[in-house]
Symmetry: C2
Subunit: 427 residues, 2 copies
């Protein structure tokens, strides 16, 4: 296989919500309370909602900025590539990067619907959450069914409502939802409670994938508040290592036998270590803990139920047979700072060009298409889905750097990242 022959489906990108997303989707009585994107005195934009201002945070929309301009600071929409918030430009940016399709996480709304969770009026919260999902399905993914895997947010404050939303989303063709990697920091019961069973039941019925993105609980992993940026940036996986342990040792998989979870942006190179560790624990401790995986090992249960996701991870590629070749999916992470855009094919191919074509196809798109029930071929023939074909369609897209207004920067510390990570506290 050549680089141009790859078909790339990314299971982790991000949308920056545009200001008009609520138009026509929020019931009239709630309109005055709907979030509004307002230009601030310092030239940045912020969503104003229930007395709090939430900026679009620095590293979350840096595609195309020179690395020296990265930072945790707030931004204006006009600082960003239009592909961050304009779906037509997004599709062009995807094509310029040879990427066929993407699954887009929310920004302002929060990976675990945090903005709606903190809304006191839960009728309003549900109305806005559904408006977000309707906008995402119609306004973002709708015009390009061959280019997006829809991803809904769920009303985490009420498992019965979550189940209802999962079924509503599924009926609209959306087979994935974003959820917390750990519910406890959100003030909600853990995955070891049966509290969530109605949600899991709906996911099982609809075969909806539950995506757990790093940082979804609102608490980026760090060791201290004064740790430099390198610390939280290097240990992003630890929350998902915990999530993986929670899932494997919870009762969820036993009660609901087939639906899947994705460890979004979790990386894959740590997985072989983790699988050996959980199997050793089971071997040494099952006699007194009562843990019982029947005729399986914990590692097998992981491989059957958990989708692993990486941006760049040559270690994981090398260890792919220990991870489970059918579990591995690829991410572009546009427009975040760890994204490989606009040279994703080059960076990925360097790590996978030496492996069999069959494995490349599984990792680049087949695993993702199967797990997320995504089939673009009726709309776009397979031969038009390749890196080479897509890039040929977007030869006019400028992918060089753009410079933006210099503003005071937040320091590169874990504390600043946390502020940036909690949109409700960001200003």
């Amino acid at each position: 296989m050549n680089l141009d022959d790859m078909i790339l489906v990314s299971v982790d990108d991000h949308v920056i919500e545009p200001p008009d997303m609520w138009d026509g989707r929020v019931p009239k009585k709630y309109l005055e309370h709907a979030p509004k994107l307002v230009r601030q005195a310092d030239g940045t934009d912020a969503w104003e909602y229930f007395g709090l201002k939430s900026s679009n945070a620095g590293l979350n929309a840096v595609a195309g900025r020179p690395p020296e301009d990265y930072g945790y600071d707030a931004q204006a929409l006009s600082d960003m590539r239009p592909g961050c918030y304009d779906v037509h430009e997004r599709v062009r940016d995807m094509s310029a990067n040879g990427v066929l399709a993407g699954l887009n996480f929310p920004s302002w709304a929060g990976f675990a619907a945090r903005q709606f969770l903190r809304t006191p009026d839960k009728d309003l919260a549900l109305a806005l959450l559904r408006a977000y999902n309707d906008w995402h399905i119609e306004g973002w993914c709708g015009e390009y069914p061959d280019r997006f895997i829809p991803l809904g947010v769920v009303p985490v404050w009420d498992p019965a409502l979550m189940a209802e939303e999962v079924r509503r989303l599924s009926a609209r063709g959306c087979h994935a939802v974003t959820f917390a990697e750990n519910t406890v920091p959100l003030g909600l019961p853990s995955l070891h409670s049966d509290h969530w069973d109605p949600f899991w039941a709906a996911c099982e019925d609809e075969q909806t994938v539950v995506c757990m993105h790093i940082g979804a609980s609102g608490v980026p992993a760090t060791t201290s508040e004064d740790a430099p940026a390198g610390v939280p940036h290097s240990i992003t996986a630890v929350g998902l290592i915990g999530a993986a342990a929670d899932l494997v040792f919870s009762n969820i998989f036993k009660k609901f036998p087939t639906f899947k979870f994705a460890l979004s942006e979790g990386g894959i190179g740590w997985v072989p270590y983790f699988l050996e560790k959980i199997d050793k624990h089971y071997e040494y401790h099952k006699a007194w803990t009562g843990e019982d995986f029947g005729d399986k090992l914990p590692s097998q249960v992981f491989q059957e139920r958990i989708i692993t996701c990486f941006i760049e991870d040559s270690v994981g590629i090398e260890m792919r047979d220990k991870i489970g070749i059918d579990t591995i999916t690829w991410e572009c992470d546009y427009p975040h700072s760890d994204s490989t855009w606009p040279t994703s094919p080059e960076k990925l191919f360097k790590d996978i060009s030496h492996i069999p074509d069959e494995d490349i196809n599984k990792i680049t798109h087949e695993n993702a298409m199967r797990a997320f029930q995504f089939n673009p071929y009726p709309v776009r023939p397979r031969e038009k889905c390749t890196v080479g074909a897509l890039r040929a369609e977007a030869a006019d897209v400028y992918t060089g750097y753009h410079h933006v207004a210099k503003r005071p920067k937040l320091p590169p510390t874990a504390a600043a990242l946390r502020e940036n990570h909690h949109p409700d506290e960001a200003i």
Copy 2:
């Protein structure tokens, strides 16, 4: 190489402090306040100290118990193999397992001197801490200089005192100290503060190894209080992944260029993933964070300064060249529940028999001997240090199961582990 030809030096075992450890080592005026091991109404033993009772916790001394008897519950000294607390029996247990030498962490005292940190009278705390160290050097390691690598505890409440103790220990032949993997949960400044510089300076001068053991900060990693045992047991490494990131991105290595840290019981299979991650972070973010590793990569700095440690880790063995073959050391973890005693040679050899002899020697003993300034050969000729030779000396040692009194067990949950982990709250 055959199994019997290996030389095994373990950099992580544990001593259960015996009741007579303070005798003759605590100044008379402090004797009435010294901890006392007292039989409790339920038949277990507990250290009574400043109004708190601290039991010897279940999983911490299970060597020789059948797995169905494991648990987080408190124990009596008489429930344990004498090798837990009696050095002569310990050496026999080591020989029966083919292990030449071990580095022993404290139990009651805490990996980060927690019992002394919480003592209001700091003169008393220091007197007891020094008594512990003197007992450890004289009463535990002293009679068998060929069988133990001494390990001191340090007065973490005062970096100047820590420096003094490091120098005092070094003069007594002790070139390793145990310290927290994260100081913040102990209420102390982070590693990104210059608070600790006097301590680091002493370690640099004396080439003392700073050991960071999992759980040393007193907070075992978990996702929730109600998580089953499999969760905290499977994610023990995450605290040390954080510690590794702290060390690499702190200023410690720049200010003090050669002394080393050990990631005790951290495992090694995750290291290749972590090294790729820190190098990627540096590549993508150094332009705005100001991080500067000169002509090196972060991964090289890790390999130069950090000793990695594993009990069983076939993934790490396979990836040893990506970890750094000169950084890897082996652990027995006697008498804890994850120990491979009494079949350590068999379990280890299964994972390493296929690698070159040169690599086996580095992993089993050469790396540890060099890093910890340990040389047993003047006392015990090399040919008497092998698995085969040591086992021949201890052919009479019973290594089968022993059953102990059944007592009510704590549930296998993270909450129970935490209670067990905080000796000061255990009863």
